[in-house]
């Protein structure tokens, strides 16, 4: 599958990247990072235009984010039903809402590129917790610009070693994302453990 997509890149570079980044923003398992690196590498070799490659990846990523946000907003009704008459669940959702209002902008920005495995879930959550759309779009587009420039740029510079770059960065961003989730869950559980003591 990956080799098939890679072989499509020199012929349909911008379109392939647009589709793949779009799908990756909706949590579908496509090798978006590797294909952006390949796009950069093909551009370095002269098979693709660098600007079109980047524009395609960026357009796909931004529209994927918007789709995820819209899906989250649409799913809010389900959350309302889930919490109706259940104060405990309501409190959890309210807490998530307060959290996203407080950290929404930077959260959206950094989940585009630094901890990109979390990106799709941040999209759904942002929509579901009614994060301001303009804020979401602004920070999202800025973050996607960093993501695209970083990966296409690395592919352009390290065109001979894109598999090495993909292996290392893929695991590094996985480690950062899992670490962040561990930290948040740990902090939450730690608080709960001490709350109970004080009672």
């Amino acid at each position: 599958m990956t080799d098939f997509l890679l072989a499509m890149v020199p012929d349909y570079g911008a379109i392939v990247l647009m589709i793949v980044t779009f799908l990756s923003c909706l949590a579908l398992p496509v090798p978006a990072s590797l294909l952006m690196l390949a796009g950069g590498a093909f551009a370095a070799g002269g098979d693709l235009a660098l600007s079109a490659t980047m524009a395609g990846a960026f357009a796909g990523a931004v529209s994927g984010d918007q789709t995820g946000f819209a899906l989250g907003r649409w799913g809010q009704g389900a959350i309302d039903r889930f919490t109706r008459g259940k104060p405990k669940r309501r409190a959890l959702v309210d807490r998530a809402h307060a959290f996203s209002l407080r950290w929404g902008g930077p959260g959206v920005f950094f989940s585009r590129w630094l901890v990109s495995p979390l990106g799709p879930y941040v999209n759904f959550l942002s929509g579901a917790s009614r994060l301001n759309w303009f804020h979401f779009t602004l920070f999202g587009a800025l973050g996607e610009a960093v993501w695209v420039c970083l990966y296409v740029g690395l592919g352009y510079s390290f065109s001979g070693q894109i598999e090495a770059v993909a292996d290392i960065l893929g695991n590094l961003s996985g480690s950062l994302a899992a670490g962040l989730v561990t930290l948040f869950l740990g902090m939450f559980l730690w608080k709960r453990m001490n709350e109970k003591d004080n009672r």
Binding site: P10, G45, D47, G160, A164, G174, V181, L189
Partner: protein
């Protein structure tokens, strides 16, 4: 320890998620280090030729000129030649391994000539 057991009883799902996330963090960190060590070895660095690569891609990553790679293929190419090596091999009825061997031979010859 009793505190932890109490926590487990009160939040079984969150505690499990926490432990799973911690395990994933360790796994990805170990993999990052392993891949860094693997790719830092110069003998792993020459990127193997794959069917999805184009002649210009190989030229760029092997630091040869596109014309040198295209000449090495010994296969007629139409203008533009944005075809992948896999497509070129199929069109010419030559196995990809033959094309790979030809490029490798040309690279060795050209690099020796430079020294």
């Amino acid at each position: 320890m009793r505190k932890l057991a109490a926590l487990w009883r009160r939040h079984p799902i969150l505690t499990t998620a926490f432990l799973a996330a911690a395990a994933l963090t360790v796994l990805f960190t170990v993999r990052s280090v392993m891949f860094t060590v693997y790719w830092a070895d110069p003998s792993h660095r020459d990127q193997a030729i794959k069917p999805w690569m184009t002649p210009r891609y190989v030229a760029h990553s092997w630091q040869l000129s596109p014309d040198e790679v295209i000449a090495a293929l010994e296969v007629p190419l139409s203008a533009g030649h944005r075809k992948t090596l896999g497509e070129i091999a199929t069109d010419a009825g030559v196995p990809l391994s033959t094309l790979t061997a030809r490029i490798q031979a040309a690279a060795t010859r050209l690099r020796e000539g430079q020294e």
